[in-house]
Amino acid sequence: MWHRSASFILDKNQNDTVYPADSVTLTPPPPSSISTPQNPNPNLNRNMSMSAYYQTRAAHHGVVTSDWLAQSQEAATRAVVTGGQEIVDGGKSGRAFSVIDEFNNWRKQPDLAEAVAAIRALAAVIRNSEAKTMMELEIELKKASDSLKSWDTTSISLTAGCDLFMRYVTRTSALEYEDFNSARSRLIERAEKFGEISYKARKIIAMLSQDFIFDGCTILVHGFSRVVMEVLKMAAQNKKLFRVLCTEGRPDRSGLRLANELAKLDVPVKLLIDSAVAYTMDEVDMVFVGADGVVESGGIINMMGTYQIALVAHSMNKPVYVAAESYKFARLYPLDQKDMGPALRPIDFGVPIPSKVEVETSARDYTPPQYLTLLFTDLGVLTPSVVSDELIQLYL
């Protein structure tokens, strides 16, 4: 990131000159602004290039207030318009197909993983393409994959999924498939099957983690992760006796949704505010989190608050287990928290905040590998050091 000056005073002066002097900065814009989608709040534009990925997650799992919904809808329509234009300009003439539209359609389904949506969108590209040779098809796919990645730079599983599929395409074409059509249909078939793979992956992860959940244990969970939900569901089905402490997960408050789901399964749940984690860490036996992305060092990128919990757990000698599918492994190596691209999402405090006050709006943080105990993936149970090995094997 770019605002790395030691003097925040300088920054403040810079920012002040750019902003208009009104006080509406971070509270949700009044409904009148919805009618002017082409001229959004300049502050909204500049500071909060909203992360579509976290938006979608919030829409799926978070508690959605009406103002937030209005904001997100406005941002979504704006983004799709620009995205659609991009692809139509650069791509096939006279065709209304847009890989980004396709991707957005898939992404809206709450149970579908990001990477699966991406690969399905790329499969649609193959289906709609008029290429006659493998090379041409690869070039088209590369263009589509690049546009997807640039449309939402904050989603790691999207990037990783695209890369994985591109890798697979390159390798498959290297095997001497005589017939282009059979190769193409095979690619489409594998891409569609990937949804099943992803679903199976969650089942495998759930099975692997069963041994680590013993009777009478207390598990701390952060936010809402579908994989962790699967793990807990399977444990409940296997009649294990355990209890779950669930953080609220501000600002999404996705923990509330998780608590709901667990209550339906008759699992004893206790909700905590995010700041109560250290207070309750004593009674916790293990921490279970999901991951938005697993980076090369073996660390994870996950919802804001994960690093904090990992630090507390580490200092109190509690194991931190991560449940992540293997297609979330990404070729990133953040050296510190600010080393990743920003993924911002607005936070609703419920009361107006004066414009002079800055708000930390990042939606995610990076947890270094030394605070993680084990990663449960569909490739097996891994220690953090295995991750870089896997990535090297894939990309070299």
Partner: protein, 415 residues
């Protein structure tokens, strides 16, 4: 067949009654038993590897159940299974290589068939290679049914005359190769001490003070080897209650001319600041780098960490277990007889059930093992060299296949 069954039952008995002491002896006997099972096993014409694997798994299951705490048994069973898969794979690729040549050299075939056979051979070989390696990102998008078809296609692909000759020679070769490899494994187990001891000179320097706990043959050989190379050093031996095997170790060290000091386990923390390095043996090494060691080891490891003393663990490769310890203090531990702690005669009045509630007030617990978490271990010295705890997964990937982690005989075929 009945011959091996008697052998198996005999061995099972010994395991259940804990008559075999030490992981090296257990490992060697397990390997020898499996070798005789394999040589006696009659294999069908096709899919021989599958038959061998099934036979080994059936016996392996019983062996592991007889003594679940002795992890070396499971390790050797899995090593043998991995050997069978590897040998089968190398034979298959060699056979396909042979097939390939014969197909290509036949000019009368039309191009399509040629392309087909080369494709199938390449694809089959690639799939076969991937079945041996654990699932990885590379194979994530690939079709799993292809791997199951490996044995079938390899035996039915192509129809050159040389095929039948290949098949019969292959049937003899597989068993022969597997038995050879198992012999190598037994050899490795027996000589693991020498290979580890060879590295002693790199780690023990002049005028150092070494601390150890209890008695381990690997440590003994290690220290002797350093002594042979004319290093002069001193050894502190913690006695290792309640079996006091440290006493025996101290005697042996003195017999060889090493300056030795004997201390109690409780004195470890007091003496650790005067020590340069801690060298200990292990009962088993888990996949995350954690160590199952004789009781008292965790204490030494914590003391070493507190005073920044390197904690070095010596372990032969037969001790490396591909499982992760999810509750090591309970599941991988054994409670030995309390008579090692207290004499029955002296304390028989405490053991009376006479006190009102009907159960004795005095409980005596004698756990055999301790779990040392990986973050306390500085270095593992195995017969494959010196490694970091976080590197253990690599060795495991070399020695074991992912399919064998749960040793259970599956009713359906299709490895």
């Amino acid at each position: 067949m009945p011959d091996t069954q008697a052998l198996v039952n005999d061995f099972l008995n010994k395991l259940k009654k804990r008559k075999i002491e030490g992981s090296q002896a257990t490992a060697r006997q397990t390997a020898e038993l499996l070798r005789s099972v394999i040589s006696q096993q009659r294999v069908p014409y096709t899919n021989q590897a599958g038959a061998l694997i099934d036979a080994v798994k059936a016996i392996g299951e019983q062996l592991i159940a007889a003594n679940p705490v002795e992890l070396a048994v499971g390790n050797i069973v899995r090593r043998v299974l991995h050997i069978i898969r590897e040998e089968d794979l190398s034979l298959t690729t060699a056979a396909i290589g042979g097939l390939n040549l014969s197909a290509v050299s036949d000019d009368e075939n039309d191009d399509d068939r040629d392309g087909d056979s080369t494709l199938s051979a390449a694809a089959v070989a690639a799939a076969a290679r991937s079945t041996l390696r654990p699932p990885s990102l590379q194979t994530l998008l690939e079709d799993t049914p292809v791997s199951a078809a490996v044995p079938q296609t390899s035996s039915s692909g192509g129809d050159s005359e040389g095929k039948t000759a290949d098949k019969s020679s292959r049937s003899r070769k597989l068993k022969h190769d597997v038995i050879e490899a198992v012999n190598e494994l037994i050899q490795d187990i027996v000589t693991c001490h020498e290979q580890i001891a060879e590295q002693a000179v790199e780690h023990i320097h002049q005028n150092e003070v070494i601390l150890t706990l209890g008695s381990s043959r690997t440590v003994l050989e290690f220290l002797f080897a350093a002594k042979e190379k004319k290093r002069s050093f001193r050894v502190f031996v913690a006695e290792g209650a309640p079996r006091y095997q440290g006493h025996l170790l101290a005697k042996e060290l003195v017999a060889r001319g090493l300056q030795t000091t004997l201390i109690t386990d409780s004195a470890v923390f007091a003496m650790i600041s005067r020590v340069n390095m801690v060298i200990v043996g292990a009962h088993a090494v888990m996949a995350n780098g954690g160590v199952i060691a004789p009781v008292g080891m965790n204490l030494v490891a914590l003391a070493a960490q507190k005073h920044a003393v390197p904690f070095v663990v010596l372990a032969g490769s037969h001790k490396l277990c591909p499982l992760y310890p999810h509750n090591p203090e309970v599941l991988l531990n054994e409670l030995r007889s309390p008579s090692e702690l207290l004499d029955f005669g002296e304390f028989s009045d405490c053991m009376d059930f006479g006190s009102g509630s009907g159960s004795p007030l005095l409980h005596v617990v004698n756990p055999a093992f301790d779990y040392v978490p990986p973050k306390l271990v500085s270095l593992f010295i195995t017969d494959a060299g010196g490694h970091n705890p976080s590197y253990m997964y690599r060795l495991i990937a070399d020695y074991y296949s992912a399919d064998d982690l749960v040793v259970q005989r599956r009713a359906t075929a299709g490895n």
